[in-house]
Amino acid sequence: MLDRTIQPELKAIDKIEFIAPIEYKITPVVSLYHMKDVPNETTRFDLYFDAGKCRGKNAMASFVNGLLLSGTKNKTSIEINNEINGKGGFYESGISQENSVISVYSLRENVLDIFHTLKDAIRNVSFIEKEVLEFLSDRKQGFNISLQKVNYLAQRAFQEELFHSNENYSKTTQLSDFDNVSIQDLKEFHAEFYLKGLAKVVVVGDLDEEIIQQFIDESKEFALTTKPQYAQNIQNNVGLKHIDKTNALQSAVRVGRILFNKNHPDYLDFLVLNTILGDYFGSRLMSNIREEKGYTYGIGTMVAELNNVGYFMVATEVGSDVKDATLREIKYEFDRLKTELVTSEELELVKNYMLGQLLKSADGPYAMTDLFISVELHDLDLEFYNKAILALNNISVERIQELAIKYLNWEDMSIVTAG
């Protein structure tokens, strides 16, 4: 008779196989990474430009990123989109504090044609006035919609508080940005950060070397020749800030601080603390604020990284009537980690969970490539993950407490509520 009260025996993850893409140098400071081991016809290529939000004035970086396919002297935006879509390509563009990333998903038979179209579009974009005005008007409408979301309001204010000491990083989009754009400004930004700003190329797909060579040859003209500089020391503005939005049913909450990235000796161990606190379904915050009290649909924490710094953040949306109670509970959970040792059972569980997640994030060529890129950013290699497994296996409950005492002080936090 089957005893359903007993969990089947667990087996440990003994080994995870990490596979690095092949590196080709485009210039001494710019590389192309190719992950070839793809079992079907899919491909993706990403172009990283040193054209993130921290570059240029106001929302310039975001505007230029959005206008890259807006047309050249010889081709309209319609023709460009038609060439990419017609070849079955999916174009995505995104922007972070320090990067602008252009990605295309397609089948391998079409990858070069699409790359050529894209390259021509990006190199020769001429910022046609009609296209620019249309784009700004669409973006402004989208921005006005975002301003109605407590989540957006809190995130935006949090960014201002978090990167407080560095204006290039703390600036956020303002309504006035949409009315103060000159074509000349767009062109200058484009010339500086795109025509000479390619920082990295990533290609995933079962492609021949000749194709990769074409990517390399044709990317060269855009490639950076010296390493770009990014902010080293940023201080967040501590204390509470509230953004009022009348009649909101829910309030968005952010609590966080500037922290380090993968190059810091406390990084790996802090990830474990972060997971215990709020980065999985059974976390302290989820158990308390969702499963125990029902204040929210979800609450989570994260560690995010930039080139030289990083940050830690708690994020949630809660019923407006329990906003203050939620802040009290978040602080309570910080304090509990500082004053009480976690049990070895809880630590064991989190270790197993994190190992499983690492296995998952190394599964398949696309995930594996992204995992690689996230260490390459910090001049590390895949050995980092073997160290991570080791760190996970060796961490103690005392070490968790030590890190909580060191990094989870309420007085060090930027706290933002919107609602």
Binding site: R4, L10, N40, N81, N85, L107, G142, G294, E348, G364
Partner: protein, 411 residues
């Protein structure tokens, strides 16, 4: 070609196995043949509330998540108008933990008052977060009852109103479980690097002794054929006027289903589609516009939605849209245009097949349709769609008499 094996346990549980030797992970996907369409009109939002309760402990296991996390796995679930789907992704050598957990909650739940109380409030917060506290968040709560008058698609999965969730009782919950959560109403798919015999013996071990339950016979009120244009305007505190044209389309098993899907791509999938080119790029009436299908099992909707540019009236846009739709019906698209649409469909399909979880979910969905082998015919069906097919389906679908229009007017 997606390879799979299929077998059925004596208690009626249908099982699919998909072998993938390239991954160290396993997926356990469980589809229950119950969705919001199976709720009664005075107790809506129940299938979804129930999905939350499935994590509140089962008959022999107090906590669902902890053992799974110990096994290095994670899980999630979703509820639609048609189905409720649960999955676990975990290291393959720990798959039995997922089977242990998933089979125990198929056997029976713990039904604690605390779980019901907390999940009620979690779902109420979800209702607020997704539907009430977002600009345009309540659109589907308004559009469904406009498009459907009789069929239970007239309410959204989250429910018609908060009070239905607030008033849910334990006896409601138990009755719901008994009716829908049993082997005879479920489909299981296991994917990973296993042997068929191994899978058979594990599934038999964990699921074999669960009583089969009573097969639920769906008897939904059919939606009468729509014969009149419907229109509703709501005023909301939003920055831009928005429109949602919802056309009745065929059900999932109808031979024209994929043609209707392709039609929606031609109209509004991307920046090369018809409506985007004419109504945005040429006439500059909208800030964005797209077309898509709901993809539901019973008669679904093909929706054209977007936002108006400042200064453009609903009337001006309406005229331009119908002009475009009539034009589209009057002549078939060129072979060049069709080929481009098909290229995009091929790319999307190839990427979907990359993910093992996607493959497992997809297998369950096809089994639910009654014939899992259809999964390998999909590409061919798309491939055989002609420009004339699209024109014919456009003519029968894009009719004013089967359209429901919701306008969201900025206050």
């Amino acid at each position: 070609m997606l390879k799979y094996d299929r077998f059925t346990l004596e208690n009626g549980l249908r099982v699919l196995f998909h072998k993938d030797t390239t991954t160290p992970l396993a997926v356990v996907n469980t589809l229950y043949d119950v969705g919001a369409r199976d709720e009664s009109e005075d107790k809506t939002g129940f299938a979804h509330l129930f999905e939350h309760l499935m994590f509140g402990g089962s008959i022999n296991i107090a906590d669902f998540d902890t053992p799974l996390q110990q096994a290095g796995g994670d899980n999630n679930a979703f509820t639609s108008n048609d189905i409720t789907n649960y999955y676990e992704v975990l290291p393959a050598n720990n798959i039995e933990t997922a089977l242990w957990l998933e089979s125990d909650r198929m056997l029976s739940l713990a039904f604690t008052d605390k779980s019901l109380e907390v999940q009620r409030s979690v779902v109420i917060e979800e209702f607020k977060q997704r539907y009430l506290n977002q600009p345009y968040g309540d659109v589907w709560l308004q559009l469904r009852p406009l498009a459907y008058k009789e069929h239970s698609y007239k309410w959204a999965t989250i429910g018609k109103e908060l009070s239905h969730i607030e008033n849910a009782t334990m006896s409601d919950v138990k009755a719901f479980f008994k009716k829908h959560y049993s082997p005879s109403n479920a489909i299981l798919c296991i994917a990973g690097n296993f042997e068929l015999e191994e899978v058979k013996s594990m599934v038999k071990k964990w699921y074999g002794d669960i009583p089969s339950g009573v097969k639920y016979n769906r008897n939904l009120t059919k939606e009468p054929i729509q014969t009149d244009f419907r229109e509703k305007t709501i005023e909301r505190d939003v920055p831009a006027n928005a429109f949602y044209y919802a056309f009745k389309m065929v059900d999932r098993m109808h031979p024209d289903f994929f043609t209707a899907d392709t039609l929606s791509d031609a109209l509004g999938r991307d920046k090369s589609s018809r409506l985007y080119l004419s109504l945005k790029k040429e006439q500059n009436l909208v800030s964005d516009i797209s077309a898509y299908i709901t993809g539901s099992l019973d008669e679904g909707l093909l929706v054209i939605s977007g936002k108006l540019n400042e200064g453009v009236t609903f009337e001006t846009f309406d005229k331009a849209l119908w002009h475009e739709l009539n034009d589209f019906q009057s002549k078939a698209i060129s072979s060049d245009e069709l080929e481009k649409i098909m290229n995009k469909i091929r790319t999307a399909k190839e990427f979907q097949d990359m993910g093992i979880l996607n493959r497992a979910m997809n297998l369950c969905s096809y089994e639910l349709l009654g014939d899992v082998s259809l999964i390998n015919k999909e590409s061919e069906i798309y491939h055989n769609i002609t420009a004339e097919d699209i024109q014919r389906v456009a003519q029968s679908t894009l009719q004013k008499t089967c359209c429901s229009l919701l306008k969201v007017k900025a206050k």
